[in-house]
Amino acid sequence: MGRSEAVGEERDRLSLKARVGTLLGAIVAALALIVFVVAHFLLPVPATVSFTADHIQGHAVNMTIQADPVNDASSTPDWASYFVRDPHNGKWIRSTVWQLPAHTRINVTAYQYDSCGPLRNQYFGHVRGTVGSAIYVNGHSESLADSYRQCSVAHSFTVPQLGINVPLAGVPGSAKNPCAQAPCQLSDSHEVIKFSFVTPGPGEYRWQCFVPCGLASLDGNGHPMGTLGFMSGFLKVVTD
């Protein structure tokens, strides 16, 4: 090897400073990625709304929820979402994690503001697991929703482990005053669904909507369907 070649090779090699800098840069990039994943995907668990603090044992719990076509998150405003009314201050909170007392009747009033669409599986058109196996839609008792022939379902409240399934009636597409801003107001077109169920023993029971309502996501299954705090959550059942 001639002297000039050796000098050229020496020149091509990265200096120690450059190598250390590259290594540190890579480490910082990896750490930033980890922080982003943790902060963006793992930490944003919705707040738990408790219905146990002031609960008197033996008494039923009244819970009011709403299913909206939109939500109040700035990054994903067009995702359908559930809101629950805080029992302490009456404010609407976008949360799907609800703490409930065990072995207690839960009376639910659901305001449904979204438009209807067919269920992916009509099996979830049948009311199951509620007290009396029925629900009241705008005051009328119903036990079955045929979403292939009527505008009868927009979302569902389904707790697979408890065998609870409640199809929530949809607002007709021709409704004059559809909700455009979450949380929706009673002046917006809506349906009122009332039902009751009894909580089991303590445990965490996941619930979800079984209507593919992930607007614009592949086959309607992504986005709010696959993210906690929108179309799925937990019932945290605790000892009273």
Binding site: A80, S115, C116, G117, P118, R120, N121, Q122, Y123, G125, H126, S143, L144, D146, Y148, R149, Q150, C151, P160, G163, G170, P172, G173, S174, R206, Q208, F210, V211, P212, C213, G214, L215, A216, S217, L218, D219, G220, N221, G222, M225, G226, T227, L228, S232
Partner: protein, 311 residues
């Protein structure tokens, strides 16, 4: 010192190969007997069905064949470490490179060839004989059981399995109940993403794919419970996508099926007619419903061009 080492090399050597062979043979017989009779009956997935028993036999045979090979390596290592290790003060190199050993090479190549080809034949027979070994065979299964199997449709969707029984009015339920000693044909499909129907103790595993009917067979051999899990990462609640099925006697199954059919009759009426797959584009009246309701649906591309207002 060099003289001492040379003297050791020149000294008459015991028949190392024979020693290794006997130790290996005794250990292999003991370990294989233990694998077959003690460990084998507890190997997953058990023997609850024809396919499970067949898979357990596969694992037992593979373990019995593999154990002597593994033991030969361990015994050789152990023997070498014990008898051929470097002694204190011995700084001599070993003997020059060994050459030949043609007999050892012939034995090694012959035995491993027989093992591999034997397992190939065994594996092929085991795939064919229990009607596909409980695996999904696609929509046109190559290997079918004798007789007329009970048809059970497995419908997967995010995040729950439901089951339809075409012989009982096409009822759909979340309960998976099967009769003992009767062949069962699972017709596995999905309504959304790819899932996998895994009835663990039955030794049945078949992918659930939208617009595809994936057929798997088994014959339950014992009554009892089994676990069903989704075995394909399918989204947020994949880990919660499991349930429990049970195998019951034939009279108990008939009783359950008939009472459930009656109980679910109102539900069955609103279900689409039983089909091997369920594409929204093929469900009669659904497009009309879309038009009448003026809805855009949130299908996200699932619904075809005959549906209005795709988002």
């Amino acid at each position: 010192m060099a003289d001492a080492a040379a003297a050791r090399v020149d000294a008459p050597q015991p028949r190392h190969g024979l020693r290794i062979f006997w130790v290996w043979l005794v250990l292999s017989v003991v370990v294989d007997v233990l694998i077959w009779f003690v460990w084998g009956p507890h190997l997953p997935p058990g023997d609850m069905s024809s396919s499970a028993a067949s898979q357990q036999l596969d694992v037992k045979v593979l373990a019995v064949v593999a154990a002597p090979v593994m033991l030969l390596i361990y015994v050789y290592f152990g023997y070498a470490l014990t008898f051929w290790r470097q002694r204190d003060g011995d700084e001599e190199d070993g003997p020059p490179e060994l050459s030949g050993a043609a007999r050892a090479q012939k034995v090694w190549i012959s035995v491993t060839t027989v093992l591999v080809l034997g397992l190939f034949v065994f594996g092929t027979v085991q795939l064919v004989s229990p009607a596909g070994a409980g695996a999904g065979e696609g929509s046109r299964p190559a290997w079918k059981p004798n007789g007329k199997p009970l048809q059970v449709q497995v419908i997967a969707q995010q995040w729950l399995f439901t089951y339809r029984y075409p012989a009982y009015g096409g009822m759909e339920t979340t309960q998976l109940v099967l009769p003992v000693d009767q062949p069962v044909q699972f017709n596995v499909t999905s309504l959304d993403v790819i899932h996998s129907f895994w009835a663990i103790q039955l030794g049945v595993k078949a992918d659930a794919v939208q617009d595809v009917n994936n057929v798997a067979y088994t014959t339950p051999q014992r009554t009892g419970g089994f676990t069903v899990r989704c075995a394909e990462l399918c989204g947020l609640w994949h880990g919660a996508m499991f349930d429990y099925g049970k195998v019951v006697s034939v009279p108990a199954f008939e009783s359950w099926a008939k009472s459930t059919e009656t109980k679910l009759a109102p539900d069955t009426k609103i279900l689409p007619a039983y089909a091997l797959t369920y594409s929204p584009n093929e469900i009669n009246g659904l497009a009309k419903f879309f038009y009448q309701a003026g809805t855009n649906g949130a299908g996200g591309g699932l619904y075809g061009s005959n549906f209005p207002n795709q988002p």
